[in-house]
Symmetry: C2
Subunit: 206 residues, 2 copies
C-alpha cells in the first residue's frame, strides 16, 4: 500500500497509539478486537476509531472486529518511515535520561544517536547507550549523522537559543519538553509536550 500523505496529525498520533496498544496481543493467532474496545482504552469514541481505520483502508468485521495482526501491519505500512529515523537528545538532566531510557526499551525505528549537553562532566561519556557531545559540536554531529529530529530537554532559559541552533544544523522536527513556547519556521514540525495541559485535562474530566 502506498503511503498516505494526507493524514491529519491527530490521525497519525492515534494510529501510532492503536498500534502500540495492540503490540501485546500480536502473538495471538487470529485475534480480533472491536473498535469500542480500542476506543475505551484511549478515551475515544468507537466512531473515531472506525473513521481512522477506514482512512487507511481497513474495515472491521461486524461480528469479530478487526484482525489484530493485519491492523498492526497496515498501520506500520502507513505511518512508519521506510528507513530508521535518527534523533538527537539535547540536555541530559533527569528528564533527558528518563526519555533516553524510555526510548531504548521501546520497539521503534526511532534511534537516538547523539546527545548534547554543556556540562563538561557529561561530554564524551556514554549515557543510557548514547554518546554525549558538547553543544559546540552540535552542527557537525547533526549533519554527519543525518539527524533530523531533536528532543529538547534543556532548562527553559536555554530553549529558544538551542532551538535556533538545531534548526541551523538541519533539524526538521522538534519534540519540546520544556515549558517554553517556541517560535519555529513553518517547515519545522514542532510538537510540544506540556505536562500541565495533561493534568488540567484530567482535572476537568474527573
Amino acid at each position: 500500500m502506498d503511503r498516505i500523505v494526507k493524514l491529519p496529525p491527530r490521525t497519525v498520533e492515534r494510529l501510532s497509539k492503536y498500534r502500540r496498544l495492540l503490540y501485546k496481543y500480536r502473538d495471538l493467532d487470529e485475534a480480533h478486537i472491536f473498535s469500542h474496545r480500542l476506543a475505551n482504552m484511549l478515551n475515544l469514541t468507537p466512531e473515531q476509531v472506525r473513521r481512522d481505520l477506514m482512512l487507511i483502508g481497513l474495515n472491521g468485521n461486524h461480528r469479530k472486529g478487526y484482525n489484530i495482526k493485519a491492523l498492526i501491519e497496515l498501520i506500520g505500512n502507513t505511518i512508519e518511515p521506510k528507513e530508521n529515523h535518527y534523533i538527537a537528545l539535547v540536555g541530559i538532566g533527569n528528564l533527558g535520561r528518563a526519555v533516553l531510557n524510555f526510548i531504548r526499551k521501546a520497539e521503534t525505528r526511532m534511534n537516538v544517536v547523539a546527545a548534547f549537553d554543556t556540562d563538561k562532566n557529561k561530554v564524551n561519556t556514554t549515557i543510557a547507550g548514547v554518546r554525549c557531545f558538547d553543544t559546540s559540536e552540535m552542527e557537525n554531529v547533526i549533519r554527519e549523522r543525518s539527524i533530523r529530529i531533536a528532543i529538547l530537554t534543556v532548562p527553559p532559559e536555554a530553549a529558544a537559543d538551542t532551538t535556533d541552533l538545531l534548526i541551523r544544523s538541519g533539524i526538521k522536527g522538534v519534540l519540546n519538553f520544556t515549558s517554553v513556547s517556541l517560535d519555529v519556521p513553518p517547515d519545522i514540525y514542532l510538537k510540544n509536550y506540556d505536562i500541565i495541559t495533561s493534568l488540567e485535562e484530567i482535572g476537568f474530566f474527573i
Copy 2:
C-alpha cells in the same frame, strides 16, 4: 460564566494550551492575537482555534483578533477547577523528579502534595519540595489528603499493580508516563503519555 461540562477532551486540551501560550503576553494592555497566530504556534488550523473559542462563547474582532486578557480569563473560568487539585506522584526516578520540577515551576492549580516510592532511601525525605512516603502508606495518605489525581512514573513492571492500588485508594484520574497500556474502570480518567507516539508523528510529517 457557568462551567461548560460538555466540552470534548481535545477541546479542553487545546484551551489549556492556548492559555499557557498567552500567559507571556498578559501584561501587555489591550493586546490582541489572531486565530492564525495561535494556530501556527500549535500546528492547528485557524478554523479549529475559532471553533474552540466560539464554544466557550468568544468571538474575535476581525480587525484586531482576540483580546488576550479576556481570552486568558475566559479559558480559566471554563476549564479551571474552583478549588486546587491535589496530586500524588508515584515513582521518584529520573522522570518523577523531572516532572516534579516541571510542575513546581509552572503556574497552575495542580499541586503535587505527596510522592510515593518503595526505595527506603527516598521514603521520608523531601524531593523537589514534596514529601516522599512508602508505597505501603498510599491508601491512607491519598484519602487523608483528598488526592484525586496520580502521576505514574514507576517502572513498567510495577505499573499495573500500582494503578490498581491507586484506584482502590480513591484516585479518579491517572497520567500514565509508563510505556504500559493500563486497564482502568470507565469512571477513571486515564491519559497516557507516550513519547514514541510523539516521535512517530514527527517522523511522519517531516
